[in-house]
């Protein structure tokens, strides 16, 4: 089995906790992500995986802990010590997010082309013709009929909206993409094809991904490595195939046996 080459981590979290009043979102979480690696964070709802993702993506401020990220070829830096301006620059240049609900990641009242073009314009693209041809190219890549470029996502099906969100996020070729149940809101019939598209793009672009899912099938299809979360903590960490074939922790065993029975 060949995992990704382990040299320097792209992102490293340690001692991460998010406490809401008396409730624990996540606690004592440590993980590393290597360049070009897809890491799945797996757990049931309430396991703290979405809280963890939002902390890592800079959307939520953790109660304690450190999240380091290597910007460009520079040294690791704690993103929690960055200014908001630095963090938001990172979010619109090197990072991207694919939300479970496409409406959270799209502008529903502007055209598909403008949705894809926004991140380009946000980083300074000022040639309409170039923006439009890049948008057309990306609609084709995510298998949206390019004739729909001037339609608003309001008129799109759920699967198409999610494809559009993927195009909008990946158009600037971010290094690191956070995905929160990217196919979780879709009909089972369209999940597989969206997942295929996603897998193709992740491989083709060499993306580093942190993927949150409750679905071990999604993790198996996309992820090199996974961590299993329960009650806000990581209970197991390993290569995806290893965990699926030979889960060590009792909770992982339970999750794996559940899908085998399904």
């Amino acid at each position: 089995m060949t995992g990704p080459i382990k040299d320097d981590a792209l992102l490293r979290a340690s001692g991460l906790a998010k406490i809401y009043g008396a409730q624990i979102g996540c606690f004592d979480v440590g993980l590393e992500l290597w360049p070009g690696e897809v890491l799945a964070v797996v757990g049931e709802s309430g396991s703290g995986k979405t809280t963890l993702l939002n902390c890592l993506a800079g959307e939520l401020t953790p109660t304690s802990g450190v999240i380091e990220y290597r910007r460009g070829n520079g040294p690791m830096r704690n993103i929690l010590e960055m200014t908001e301006a630095e963090r938001r620059t990172l979010q619109r240049t090197e990072w991207g997010i694919v939300h479970q609900n496409p409406a959270d990641g799209l502008r529903m009242t502007v055209s598909a082309g403008a949705n894809v073009g926004e991140r380009l314009m946000a980083v300074g693209a000022r040639n309409y013709g170039d923006i439009r041809s890049t948008a057309l190219e990306w609609l084709a890549r995510v298998e949206i009929d390019t004739g729909r470029i001037d339609c608003r996502p309001e008129t799109f099906s759920g699967g198409m909206r999610q494809r559009l969100q993927i195009a909008r996020t990946l158009v600037t070729r971010p290094r690191l993409v956070f995905m929160d149940e990217p196919t979780g809101g879709l009909d089972v019939s369209v999940q597989a094809r969206v997942l295929d598209t996603l897998r193709g793009l992740v491989a083709e672009l060499g993306l580093s991904v942190i993927l949150v899912t409750h679905d071990l099938g999604v993790a198996r299809l996309l992820a090199d490595r996974m961590v299993v979360m329960k009650d806000g903590q990581i209970v197991e960490d390993g290569l995806t195939d290893q965990i699926l074939e030979d889960p060590q922790h009792a909770y992982s065993q339970l999750l794996v046996s559940a899908i085998l029975q399904a």
Binding site: A85, R92, S111, A114, G117, E118, M121, A122, I149
Partner: protein, 297 residues
């Protein structure tokens, strides 16, 4: 008509220019801050004025705060001095401040406007006060004010071009003709609202101080004299101003903003300068348009 030496004294029932001195000082502080940060929207405690919102209460408060007894005030609405809104604001300041008023752009020290910038180039001893309905240029796509403030603070202005992109995608060209967004002093994106984009080039490096007051929204912003003001665009869809196929029917001007006027119900129409003072003065100076030609011959 023009300034007279018998300006009325102000009605003693009112404090000079209606607002109390403390309120004026508060507004002046906001104006100074606005001048110090060109294009930045400064919050201020907008007061109730004896006129409804939408009638220029923001502009009126700015004018009231900067007006002195020696000022000469011109008020225009859609370029004209004789519209209801302009007449009532002018009358308001005649009564409450006793200042002279004028319709002549060159004689005015303060010009309060809705919609237009006078055609005549303004000087550095004049102040142009705009009445603004919606000061936030980002609002049409981002309604959350906490977010638009952050976007301004961090210069995240991609969204402005999304609007222009959408215009071109839907209409084949940038269809925004009013409230066309500008970048002020290379920093803040600002709404010149609600002037036509025809007037945007006049804002650039204008010798006069430009002050913007939004009453309902409680915001003041400013463009100091000789400040760079650039209209946003794309490389392959550059900013352009409106053009008309014909000159003004009254004064023959070919470089002014024209209003279309219906003259009868058989489809007869005229194109005349929206800046009535400019048009009148050109006619007085002997310039003719197609309508006045006939009369003169």
């Amino acid at each position: 008509m023009s300034a007279s030496s018998t300006a009325p004294r102000h009605d003693p029932a009112y404090n000079f220019a209606f607002l109390d001195e403390q309120t004026k000082r508060m507004i002046r502080r906001a104006i100074l801050k606005a001048i110090a940060i060109p294009g930045y929207q400064v919050p201020f405690a907008s007061r109730e004025m004896p006129m409804p919102y939408g009638w220029g209460t923001g502009g009126v408060q700015v004018t009231a705060a900067i007006l002195g007894p020696d000022d000469r005030l011109k008020v225009i609405d859609q370029g004209a001095d004789d519209t209801t809104n302009a007449v009532s604001i002018r009358e308001f300041f005649r009564r409450t401040a006793g200042v002279e008023t004028t319709e002549r752009t060159d004689k005015a020290t303060i010009i309060q406007t809705r919609h237009r910038i006078p055609e005549m180039a303004l000087r550095d001893d004049q102040v142009l006060v705009y009445q603004v309905p919606i000061p936030e240029p980002l609002r049409f796509l981002e309604p959350r004010e906490t977010e638009t403030r952050t976007m301004h603070a961090l210069k995240e202005y991609g969204l402005m071009h999304v609007k222009l992109y959408e215009d071109i995608a839907m209409h084949g060209h940038i269809a925004t003709t009013y409230a066309y967004p500008v970048k002020v002093a290379g920093r803040y994106i600002t709404d010149p609202s609600p002037t036509p984009k025809f007037d945007n080039p006049k804002m650039n490096r204008m010798p006069a101080l430009q002050l913007f007051g939004a009453g309902r929204e409680k915001r003041i912003y400013a463009i100091p004299p000789y400040t760079d003001v650039v209209s946003l665009d794309f490389e392959d869809h550059p900013f352009t101003v409106q053009k008309w196929d014909q000159p003004c029917d009254l004064c023959g001007a070919e470089d002014t903003f024209l209003d279309e006027m219906l003259t009868d119900d058989q489809g007869g129409r005229l194109f005349i300068c929206s800046d009535s003072d400019h048009c009148n003065r050109r006619q007085t100076a002997g310039h003719h348009g197609s309508m006045t030609q006939d009369a003169a011959e």
